[in-house]
């Protein structure tokens, strides 16, 4: 099939959803480890400072942003009225990408 922006948005939504399902449990596990007192917090903070962990957290934030943006587009398609032009809300695909980029940059800047 012709792979238009709608198809790429669906694929991005699916892959980011799967990434969230795979990595959120790890993320929560790490948060949970930090709750075991001062020592546990200290070692968790050390783990969180590892570059690979930072990269993974960056990926998680971007995946969440992608999934949220494209998920909201699906909900807009299904629940908002259909204008004669662009009922598929293809412009929201680009808006969602822009919002994701902003979130990604903000996270990278605040963590780096």
């Amino acid at each position: 099939m012709r792979r238009g922006p709608g198809w790429w948005a669906a694929m991005g939504h699916r892959l980011s959803g799967l990434a969230l399902a795979a990595f959120l449990p790890l993320h929560f596990l790490m948060l949970g480890q930090a709750l075991g007192g001062a020592e546990a917090l200290e070692s968790s903070l050390k783990i969180a400072a590892l570059p690979l962990v930072k990269l993974a957290e960056f990926g998680l934030v971007v995946a969440l942003a992608v999934h949220l943006a494209f998920g909201l587009r699906v909900l807009a398609i299904e629940f908002l009225p259909w204008p004669a032009k662009d009922g598929l809300r293809l412009r929201l695909v680009y808006l969602g990408l822009a919002a994701t980029a902003l979130v990604g940059i903000a996270f990278a800047v605040s963590v780096a």
């Binding site: 099939m1 238009g4 699906v74 398609i77 299904e78 009922g87 598929l88």
Partner: protein, 239 residues
């Protein structure tokens, strides 16, 4: 591009088969259906394909052109193949019968499975007065012009993944019945749209809407069915 030759590849055979290659003269105002017809008349009398009206009404001529499902009688070669190269195959998501003709049974059976028009009026009643300004009627009007070409069905990835999925055309049909004030049992129409493989199987990818040659929006119709299902659940009925 009126001068010169088109390089045309056409699928020969059923699910197993191969492409035949043909050199067809390029002409002004030439549709893809014209090309197929010329190949059959001049080079390949046994080539099987379907068409009838040649003007975009009957819905029988759809094929896959350079990877995209389209009606061939209203697709100009110039628009889809400016370089003069055409690859023509049967529609996706259906069994290939012979050459460009595919088995439409699955598509049509699913269409029929959402129900047929059954009204309440008898021949003694006066014709129903349909108000074009009525919102439900406007939903019907927006979706009613379907020509059963199966282009949307071929474009939909969910149909490709799940052979039980009813697909955009059947669900679009269900939406027109559901909004038709003359239909006796609209609840039953919604029920049939909620069967396994019904409206909730759609992921709103929108490929149907992007490809429908008459400009319908099956995605909108299916979203309408999903909302109707949600409302019916909130009211204690079926979801």
């Amino acid at each position: 591009m009126a001068e010169g030759t088109l390089e045309v590849r056409i699928w020969r055979g059923g699910d197993e088969g191969s492409f035949g290659a043909y050199a067809v003269p390029a002409r002004e105002n030439q549709t893809v259906l014209d090309v197929v017809t010329e190949v059959q008349r001049r080079f390949e009398p046994s080539l099987a394909y379907r068409f009838s009206c040649r003007v975009g009404v009957c819905g029988s001529c759809a094929m896959t052109i350079n990877g995209t499902p389209r009606w061939t009688c209203r697709t100009h070669v110039k628009r889809v193949a400016p370089e003069g190269r055409l690859t023509i195959e049967p529609l996706r998501n259906m069994k290939r019968v012979k050459d460009l003709a595919c088995d439409m049974d699955g598509f049509l059976d699913k269409w029929a499975s959402v129900g047929t028009f059954e009204g309440t009026a008898t021949r003694a009643d006066p014709p129903a007065a349909l108000d074009p300004a009525n919102p439900a009627r406007q939903e019907v009007d927006a979706a009613i012009q379907c020509i059963n070409c199966a282009v949307c069905y071929a474009a939909c990835d969910v149909v490709a993944w799940d052979p039980h999925y009813l697909g955009p055309a059947a669900l679009n049909r269900a939406w027109t019945l559901y909004n038709d004030a003359r239909v006796a049992d609209r609840g039953a129409v919604l029920e049939s749209a909620l069967q396994p493989g019904g409206c909730h199987t759609c992921h709103s990818h929108g490929a149907c809407t992007e490809h429908c040659p008459v400009g319908l929006s099956p995605t909108a119709s299916i979203a309408g069915l999903k909302r109707a299902s949600l409302l019916s659940m909130l009211k204690g009925g079926r979801a």
